[in-house]
Symmetry: C2
Subunit: 391 residues, 2 copies
């Protein structure tokens, strides 16, 4: 369909290595003594803790262990030290980026989760998660505004041989139950490699981002559908990924997942039959983060009869060549949005933005300040993207 941009492959290399957690160097020396339990701790758990600078402190009970290392905190992670009480303790060598990070423990050579905190599906497993409060966290916080609902649906899908059903989650806006006649536009929103249908409404806070935007009158109320993009099996060692170190052909691998058929033949018809949707191209958009952006690129460009808005978050760009290759693009696509974190290839996003402008394609580029290939980039991307849709 098109040649991959060089910066796209570098983004994906980051994603494939699961290097979601990046450190930032600090000039000051002193670590502030104001550690508090992380927002994501399990009920009643005191650790892990985060301080006002973004340092993270761990406390793991395993008195007979030989070695406990946390994968957060830069190359080699954070090795913990056994204290007199048998607990292993340690603090990251530098503050973490604001936002959400996946991590796990290496205990005596095995991979386990931190029993203190909640788990989130990433890297094709349920991982520990930690949240570094961001200076702009209010846009994804639980506030005293009307709240929409997130629903689990089991939709019939031919491409699943086991039960014939697949799971997805659907956000409906706050006024959805109150007005039984109103119909709504729909955004299909994809997770990244290693994640699944849980990502956007848990670590992503897509529902709270929408609730807050709608309460402020900044976005049209619309439905958000979060499905599993079927990419994890294909990209596992032993799957369709080349084993010899060659660069994978991501487009081909995504094609082989069969998600295009799941989405177009099974999910969209189910959503249009079971929710009060505006079931036309004008009122349907697709977006995704990282590999979910690549899926969006592949599927939305092929089905411009279905989607009028396209968002790629740390997942490449809609290039002038893409536009040339897709008949009627200018007539059909109303919103083009490409984003990444400032610690990714922001220059690539901005260069492409200018090239699209020159080609007469109205589009938006967004660079998230001081974030990498991680969820704060994508929360902010959704927050910028949603207000553009369905106007």
């Amino acid at each position: 369909m098109k040649t991959q941009k060089p910066f796209l492959s570098s983004l994906l290399a980051v994603a494939m290595c699961s290097a979601f957690a990046q450190n930032q160097a600090t000039s000051a020396g002193a670590v502030a003594d104001d550690f508090k339990p992380s927002q994501l701790n399990q009920p009643g758990q005191e650790f892990p803790q985060v301080n006002s600078q973004g340092y993270v402190r761990f406390h793991i009970q395993a008195p007979q262990a030989q070695s406990v290392v946390v994968t957060l905190g830069g190359r080699g992670g954070t090795p913990l030290t056994k204290g007199a009480d048998g607990a292993w303790v340690g603090t990251t060598a530098a503050p973490m980026d604001e936002g959400f990070h996946y991590y796990h423990l290496s205990i005596d050579g095995g991979v386990f989760n931190d029993p203190g905190t909640l788990n989130f599906y990433g890297s094709t497993r349920w991982e520990s998660g930690i949240e570094i409060p961001a200076h702009d966290e209010e846009f994804y916080s639980l506030k005293a505004v009307p709240h929409g609902q997130v629903q689990q649906i089991l939709f019939p899908s031919k491409t699943n041989g086991v039960s014939g059903f697949k799971t997805a989650y659907v956000y409906t806006p706050p006024d959805y139950p109150k007005n039984g006649k109103k119909r709504y536009p729909v955004l299909y929103l994809q997770h990244g490699w290693g994640e699944d249908e849980h990502a956007w409404w848990n670590q992503g806070h897509a529902n709270l981002i929408m609730d807050n935007l709608i309460a402020d009158g900044k976005a049209e109320p619309f439905i958000v559908v979060m499905a599993y993009g079927q990419t994890n099996d294909a990209f596992r060692p032993g799957g369709a990924r080349p084993a010899n170190g060659q660069r994978p052909n991501f487009d081909e691998m995504i094609r082989r997942t069969g998600f295009e058929s799941t989405l177009v033949d099974d999910l969209i018809p189910y959503v249009d039959a079971n929710f009060r949707t505006l079931a036309d191209q004008r009122h349907r958009a697709m977006a995704g983060l990282s590999m979910g952006g690549m899926e969006t690129h592949q599927i939305a460009l092929k089905h411009l009869d279905l989607f009028s808005g396209i968002g790629l978050f740390s997942g490449g760009v809609i290039s002038p060549e893409d536009v040339q290759g897709a008949p009627d693009f200018k007539n059909k696509v109303k919103v083009v949005f490409c984003s990444c974190g400032s610690r990714e290839n922001a220059a690539g996003i901005n260069t492409n933005h200018e090239a699209l402008d020159k080609a007469g394609i109205k589009n938006t580029a967004f660079v998230s300040p001081n974030t990498a290939h991680e969820f704060l980039t994508w929360r902010r991307s959704l927050h910028e993207f949603a207000p553009l849709l369905f106007r």
Copy 2:
């Protein structure tokens, strides 16, 4: 309100010790060599495995560990042995009861989850779970029938000082979205000690039980609301529970949680305002398992103006004394249901059933065959209880 039945306190002692997993002795010696990955394994994970007899086999990577013990498999659990490849392996000494069991690993003296399987909230933490296929599992299986939806709601609640909102999950039956005018009865369904609002639709399969009953025409389509009963904090060491080994006053402790106000003042009005309910006593019921049964006992008996159906699953009984103490019980309550597993105090359930009958109170007693204080008892209880409601 009433004197606790002796068998009720023994049930609760079981619950407080988290002894959810019981072994049953077997006569035969040979362990069948037909182990398969557990239904609850994380995607792509080979272990833990279950065989056709209900034995469970574990395989934990932790090459430098000194000791790995699984809490399943009777007193002392199942100690694993390190193999030549550095993995710790072992099989339960006896088959497990059919159904769902919580467990965790003790690795070098620390408490961790098995990275092979999914986690479920029980014992006030996210624990590993395993499923022993039951001979009657079809009633809670995902089958090719119309499926309802499970929705996360964020409802305003005065008793929460942090955000002012609490989370609950709401099951709506399959025809709910199709018929925008139809109104439905509601069952408020409570989890047990150590669990939360996730229990009934994950380890409990309440949604699939309802889908299957409705598809077979055995139950009226109704809404099921699954909220957090607020019992975990109160019953923690350091909470309202007596520290000196005295028997706790469960009624008093449940009162102190404030859940009665959450349910009556916040949740029921929210559900009636945001879902198409039949918002009267005739079309509202309450049930719960274990400590959720005790909550039901306390709250429903006090609010017979709100509930016409009462179900206690391994959570005590509605006794003749309860009936005497509640004015208008005979006029107002249409369904009384008490159940437990056959490995619990089934005699107590049956004796009370007869006493209620003698007192002229129509009621149902159910004893789940060959199960203890565990989720297969409660899945079966819901399956027996639901068809009685709202007829």
